[in-house]
């Protein structure tokens, strides 16, 4: 992920200040915190596209499609183009930057 999150590094510093070594830190939990913010941003998409956007059913899968293609589609829907049914109302809720993050997230699934 290309977006480095300030809330993460700040807290890591706080933890280190408590005297826990970086090694113990790595051993003691398995949370993938780098992806957490994007997981939350993309969380709602799974409601119609399945976990990770990977369900190929009555609603098209979005996982693994090129980021450029997904981004172009999302921007199109946001502008109410392309017979979107519900996707204009979904895409319209995100900034262009958030749509770019969503496109990259699902392209990498």
């Amino acid at each position: 992920m290309n977006n480095h999150l300030p809330w993460k590094s700040a807290c890591l510093t706080a933890v280190l200040a408590l005297g826990v070594s970086a090694g113990a830190l790595a051993d003691s939990h398995s949370a993938d915190l780098d992806h957490l913010a994007d997981e939350v941003l993309a969380g709602g998409c799974a409601g119609c596209h399945g976990t990770d956007g990977a369900l190929s059913g009555l609603v098209p899968a979005i996982a693994g499609r090129p980021a450029e293609e997904l981004e172009a589609l999302l921007l199109q829907y946001k502008n109410g183009e392309g017979n979107p049914t519900v996707m204009d109302r979904i895409a319209g809720g995100f900034t262009d930057e958030e749509l770019t993050r969503l496109a990259e997230f699902f392209a990498n699934r």
């Binding site: 999150l5 809330w7 993460k8 700040a10 807290c11 890591l12 706080a14 933890v15 408590l18 005297g19 826990v20 113990a24 830190l25 051993d27 003691s28 939990h29 398995s30 949370a31 993938d32 915190l33 957490l36 913010a37 997981e39 939350v40 941003l41 969380g43 709602g44 998409c45 799974a46 409601g47 119609c48 596209h49 399945g50 976990t51 369900l55 059913g57 009555l58 609603v59 017979n83 049914t85 519900v86 204009d88 109302r89 979904i90 895409a91 319209g92 809720g93 995100f94």
Partner: protein, 438 residues
């Protein structure tokens, strides 16, 4: 029990933080207890309720941090969803098509599932007591307790009444009973649906139910009628429903709102008779009462409900405002403008899971985003929807960044596409929540 493991080896980073933190809320006694139970896990998380909110939270907790010890407490081995239970009443879906189990959560994600009723929560001791007497210790507790009914708020609609006049607002036997009653009704009968005032589970639900029952009548009992007696003057997707009813069912569906004397004050469930505010008596052949509601019982037991009967939460994390380390998601919460829907619950479950993962790691939860899309079927190939995106900023306020209904003017192919997407939504959210594949 899962908490019988005796791995005392590693002192987790979190315990160190707890120990070092001067203002730690969790007493050391409890920290030692959980350390014993936790083994080498980062934290013990108990999830109460295996519906959309709870099952999703359990899955996304383990996805986000496999080293969490996650225990899901849900009495039912087979969970029936309220979404699409109206399609069963309409005769276009069967109960096994709205049934879900916990195999994927157990086998793929490593969630421990206990089929017991959670009977009590001690928010100070951080314990959950189950129906069989087992006590679970938690570091973090997620509750997705759904709704309970306010018995007798409508006079006569007590706990015995649903066997005669079903609510069918918790899916399962009640749903089956209502369909049997509809099937047993003579043609020419009246189905009376008593709809509650806000807030309640699934705002468009009563009106989709009226649509599906009218569809069933149109196929099997063409002289029968649907009468909705409503305790409010406006309802979800009202314009779209009304237009669809006119198109498909004509005067087969009649809706009476609050100002038209639609509010039901008294019910005689055995006689299937209801009385409204101004004394009008209605005789039903099948009577369906959707009673006033409140948060599920366990939320009350945990002491996280306020005077309204619902659970106030911090919308950035869905942490309950009235207890530490308890997160409540789904219909039980005060989450407006998000509606009480399965999709909202799922979305909230993911946000709560992420918040817990971050907090266990000693970090700040990421910004919260929520989605809700509610489809309703007016006829098998005629769907409508409402959709919205919500964000929570760091001040904890919910912002609606997009919201809208299906267009009022749309051709049949658009409605058919939305009906298909309604089925696609169900397929996807069932996969995302329980791993169910049809």
């Amino acid at each position: 029990m899962s908490n019988d493991k005796k791995n005392l080896g590693a002192v987790s980073r979190r315990s160190l933080i707890k120990g070092l933190g001067a203002a730690s809320v969790l007493p050391m006694v409890s920290a030692c207890g959980t350390m014993t139970g936790r083994g080498s896990a980062d934290a013990r998380v108990v999830v109460i309720g295996g519906g959309f909110g709870g099952a999703t939270a359990a899955k996304y907790l383990k996805r986000g941090n496999p080293n969490l010890d996650v225990t899901l407490v849900e009495p039912a081995e087979v969970f029936y969803t309220c979404p699409f239970s109206n399609l069963y009443l309409g005769g276009i879906r069967e109960m096994n098509e709205i049934a879900h189990n916990y195999d994927e959560l157990k086998d793929v994600y490593g969630v421990q599932v206990i089929h017991q009723l959670a009977q009590d929560v001690d928010p100070v001791a951080h314990t959950v007591t189950l129906g069989d007497g087992t006590t679970l210790i938690y570091d973090k507790l997620v509750m997705s307790p759904g709704i309970d009914f306010r018995w007798n708020e409508i006079e006569g609609y007590d706990q015995a009444a649903p066997q005669y006049a079903p609510h069918a607002w918790q899916a399962g036997e009640q749903t089956r009973l209502l369909r049997r009653q509809l099937e047993g009704m003579d043609d020419g009968g009246v189905f009376v649906l008593v709809a509650p005032d806000n807030p309640f589970r699934c705002p468009p639900g009563p009106y989709e139910r009226a649509s599906m029952v009218a569809h069933y009548f149109s196929q099997h009992k063409p002289n029968s009628k649907v009468l909705i007696l409503d305790a409010k003057d406006n309802f979800s997707k009202q314009g779209l429903f009304t237009a669809g009813w006119n198109e498909f069912y004509g005067n087969r569906i009649e809706w009476v709102g609050l100002s038209g004397d639609g509010r039901v004050m008294r019910v005689d469930a055995v006689r299937r008779e209801v009385e409204t505010e101004f004394g009008t008596l209605h005789q039903a052949d099948v009577l369906n009462v959707v009673p006033p509601q409140k948060a599920g019982m366990i939320a009350e037991r945990a002491g996280v409900t306020d005077d309204s009967g619902w659970v106030p939460v911090n919308p950035a994390t869905f942490a309950a405002t009235m207890a530490d380390d308890i997160y409540v998601v789904g219909d039980a919460t005060i989450a407006a403008p998000m509606p009480k829907s399965g999709f909202s619950a799922s979305s909230q479950g993911k946000v709560a899971a992420a918040a817990i993962i971050a907090e266990v790691a000693g970090e700040t939860p990421p910004p919260a985003y929520f989605t809700n899309t509610c489809y309703s079927l007016i006829a098998p190939d005629y769907g409508i929807s409402v959709a919205a995106i919500y964000k929570t900023d760091s001040s904890g306020e919910v912002e609606v960044t997009s919201s809208g209904l299906s267009p009022a003017e749309a051709d049949r192919s658009t409605r058919a596409l939305e009906a298909q997407y309604a089925r696609g939504w169900y397929e996807a959210i069932a996969q995302d929540t329980w791993g169910t594949r049809y």
